[in-house]
């Protein structure tokens, strides 16, 4: 046996081994990222079609033609599903987490590189299966991303509920398996591959966020898988887990005794941790970027860690707040609502600490920082509508109205996306060896911040006025007519905001090839990825193993020669 084991897989040769079936976590991270980028553009197009149909129901669109009510609902379903799974659960964790977790903890790769590769390709196949639902007989399902049974369990309940729904469930099941494989890798890597000196409490908050997200995924995706298995059985094997005795259009369904609420419990037991899976990495990135560009340590590092742990833990105890109106026991509703209000507390702590980081800092407004600051603003806005929905009394008028999408879009659909943008602008130099264009970054930021506020802030008003969710048009219910002009405003804002994303897309691809070359540490940051070459070599640290002597955010330390101390700098200053 060779005395000195080299890195298990030597740098691969050949295009297929280097870029397609790569075992390198950096390549896999980029693969996830570009999959998510594709998915987000598909998702945005779907949302534009939705918004246009909502306010101009009889419009005939070029290429897409007439949009029928069932088509609208399948757009709604696929938009939500693709965004939640293939963007928000893919880019922050699979994309940036895969790329930077090993490097930030000083490891040469993930614990299980082959598993890593498998988890990406399974996600990819899942995406193909999902998109395939559009092209089969009946089209994509119309039951919403939440897939409530019996609507999702009965092929006769609507167009798209046939093969399209089966493909949707299968895609999600594949995604579950892929995510679980990924979570396995993240947890093992974080626990077992940290470099010497990299204790858990010296890890960057990004690593903590990926770690806790992986725990959430590990516990939640198995339950979603179980829900999907039961749904497939109801649809294809004639079982009645979810479907009670009943009729569709006068025809007996052939089921009896099932409970529609069972689906809701299983789905939301997964669904609520899922939204924390979507936001936690963004919180980690926000902390990282705010600290770097304020030239200040993150305010209250320990509190930030405990807050994320609390959010993760409490996140498993609040699922019933999606079910206040469901027919669930009102007593358990009250219990769930107390837990839900409790989870607002760690979120508030994090917000205070982000503000505390900016306070008395020396702020630089590079693009990553703009998006991090935007993240905080959006998190505040989106988060504060939570306490309304968390109270069952107030949920009575607000449940299933536009108030709910206003809440979750500001948090997931914008703040988490700003987290992805911040991460992109921040780590682009390290990944591609070039700088993105600052001016384009600012234009992108301003259009997107203002644009998304114009889209989603008005939705609160619509919800208060009683506009229900998932209506394909507002013409049939009289009290909704006066809300159409505001809906038009939102649609215009959406068109402009989506168009503005082309600026980002151009900046991204142009800079990859033509951007000015980047140094190893253009942001003068402290964490381990900035100690290595740009882009990093195959085994991340060119044969050296980092030894860590400092915490992750030692900026502006009094008496230090520079305003940042890298984690691997010698231990001359008092360790933290």
């Amino acid at each position: 046996m060779v005395a000195q084991e080299s890195h298990e897989h030597a740098a691969p040769q050949g295009f297929i081994r280097k870029y397609v079936f790569s075992l390198d976590h950096k390549v896999i991270g980029l693969q996830y990222y570009f999959l998510a980028l594709t998915a987000v553009f598909v998702g945005m197009v779907l949302s534009l079609l939705m918004r246009i149909h909502l306010v101009w129901p009889s419009a005939t669109l070029p290429l897409f033609g007439d949009i029928k009510p069932e088509t609208y609902l399948s757009l709604v379903t696929m938009h939500g599903t693709i965004m939640v799974f293939f963007v928000l659960t893919t880019a922050p964790q699979g994309g940036f987490g895969n790329y930077f977790l090993p490097i930030q903890i000083g490891a040469p790769d993930m614990a299980f590189p082959v598993l890593n590769m498998l988890s990406f390709w399974t996600t990819f196949v899942a995406f193909l299966v999902m998109v395939a639902a559009f092209f089969v007989v009946g089209g994509a399902p119309l039951h919403g991303w939440t897939g409530y049974a019996p609507l999702s369990a009965l092929p006769s309940a609507g167009p798209g509920e046939g093969l399209g729904a089966d493909l949707w469930i299968t895609s999600i099941a594949l995604f579950c398996v892929a995510s679980l494989m990924g979570a396995l890798n993240f947890l093992t890597t974080t626990l077992d591959l940290r470099a010497r000196g990299m204790s858990m409490m010296r890890m960057p908050l990004t690593c903590w966020s990926w770690f806790i997200t992986a725990i959430l995924g590990l516990l939640a995706f198995g339950v979603l898988l179980s829900a999907g298995i039961l749904l497939l059985m109801d649809r294809n094997l004639g079982t009645s887990f979810y479907v009670p005795l009943g009729t569709v259009n006068g025809q007996l369904t052939g089921h009896r005794g099932g409970s529609p609420l069972l689906w809701q419990h299983l789905f939301w037991f997964f669904g609520h941790p899922e939204v924390y899976i979507a936001i936690l990495p963004g919180m980690g990135v926000a902390s990282q970027v705010l600290s770097t560009f304020s030239r200040k340590p993150i305010f209250g590092y320990k509190a930030m860690v405990y807050a994320m742990l609390a959010i993760g833990l409490l996140g498993f105890m609040v699922w019933g707040h999606h079910m206040f109106m469901s027919g669930m026991s009102p007593y358990s509703a009250f219990a769930f609502s107390i837990m839900t209000m409790a989870i607002g507390v760690p979120s508030a702590i994090k917000t205070f600490n982000w503000l505390g980081t900016l306070h008395r800092g020396r702020i630089q407004f590079d693009s990553p920082m703009l998006f991090a600051i935007g993240f905080v603003s959006l998190f505040v806005s989106g988060g504060l509508s939570g306490p309304f929905l968390a109270q069952p009394t107030l949920d009575i008028p607000l449940h299933d109205t536009a108030f709910v999408p206003a809440h979750f879009h500001l948090i997931m659909g914008v703040a988490a996306i700003f987290g992805i943008f911040a991460a992109t602008y921040y780590w682009f130099p390290k990944m591609f060896g070039r700088m993105m264009n600052e001016r384009l970054g600012r234009i992108h930021f301003l259009f997107t911040l203002i644009g998304t506020y114009c889209i989603f802030m008005p939705m609160h008003y619509l919800g208060l006025a009683g506009q229900p969710r998932r209506y394909s048009q507002l013409t049939e219910v009289a009290y909704l007519h006066h809300l159409i002009p505001l809906n038009r405003f939102i649609t215009y804002a959406a068109i402009i905001t989506v168009t503005a994303q082309l600026v980002f897309l151009f900046n991204l691809f142009w800079s990859m090839f033509k951007g000015p070359k980047a140094s190893d540490n253009p942001w003068r940051a402290t964490t381990l990825e900035w100690t290595t070459a740009t882009p990093p070599p195959h085994d991340n640290f060119a044969g050296r193993t980092p030894v860590v002597n400092h915490g992750p955010y030692e900026y502006s330390v009094p008496g230090a020669p520079r305003d940042y101390i890298m984690q691997t700098d010698p231990a001359t200053v008092a360790a933290h």
Binding site: V114, L218, G222, S226, L230
Partner: protein
């Protein structure tokens, strides 16, 4: 199976337990092993990592069956609305389980757990003796019982036995969709069987690796991890059987 050969860096990274001042090896990891027991520190690292990975992997599998269990318990006690009387009625139909057959299968599975343990220890002894044998010293023709192969056969026997149990249920008229109780029986036993089959595949891979004379350390890790997985599957089966019998 490649997924059980994890990355080994040039200098094996230590965990935070070491940041109180232990000196890391300057280069490579070949000569640093001072821990008791067989195997280089490289092997021990890989084994620890693989076991950690398995421990993590067992959590979602557990969650899957926890989820099925809670659906089972709730459904069993759930009254359903009978529209003809506007009353809530319980419609749970207990199934006559092929208990004897299930118990026989349980024995098969428990025995297979034992044989797999023997296979694991057999490999351990082989590894301890390897430096001696590689020097040319012959320890006599050791009659090696093929514990791994026996386990694989027993695993297939278990699956065959489960199939027979399904046939018995169907003879009684209980198919997947006959009643909620029967749906759950097929669901629980079917998912367990599927996971066990995955374990069999891992053992087959280890067997093929033996025939192809792959490195002993890698084979040991595969068998070790598969053994823990297998034991977990055996315990899971006992739990499922207990649930089906007690909460019939």
């Amino acid at each position: 199976m490649a997924s059980f050969t994890p990355t080994v860096p040039m200098a094996p990274p230590r965990t935070s337990r070491d940041d109180r001042g232990r000196v890391p090896p300057v280069d490579g990891g070949g000569g640093g092993g001072r821990e008791p027991g067989s195997g280089s520190p490289n092997y021990r690292t890989r084994l620890r990592r693989a076991r950690l990975g398995l421990g993590v992997a067992l959590v979602p599998i557990l969650m899957l069956f926890v989820s099925f269990t809670s659906a089972y318990i709730v459904r069993r006690g759930l009254p359903t609305l009978d529209p003809s009387t506007n009353q809530l009625v319980h419609d749970w139909l207990p199934v006559q389980l092929p208990t004897l057959l299930f118990l026989l299968n349980t024995c098969v599975l428990v025995v297979s757990s034992l044989t797999l343990e023997l296979a694991r220890r057999q490999l351990q002894r082989e590894a301890a003796l390897e430096p001696v044998q590689s020097m040319g010293v012959s320890l006599g023709q050791e009659r090696k019982i093929p514990w791994l192969a026996i386990t694989i056969v027993l695993g297939f026997c278990f699956l065959a036995g489960q199939w027979m149990a399904w046939q018995t249920l169907q003879l009684q008229g209980f198919y997947v969709a006959t009643a909620p109780s029967s749906s759950f029986i097929y669901l629980l036993t079917g998912c367990h069987a599927l996971h066990l089959f995955g374990g069999i595949l891992a053992l087959l891979a280890a067997g093929v690796a033996t025939l192809l004379h792959r490195p002993l350390d890698s084979r040991r890790i595969v068998v070790d991890v598969a053994a823990w997985y297998w034991h977990f599957m055996a315990l899971l089966w006992i739990y499922i059987l207990a649930l089906l019998e007690v909460a019939r």
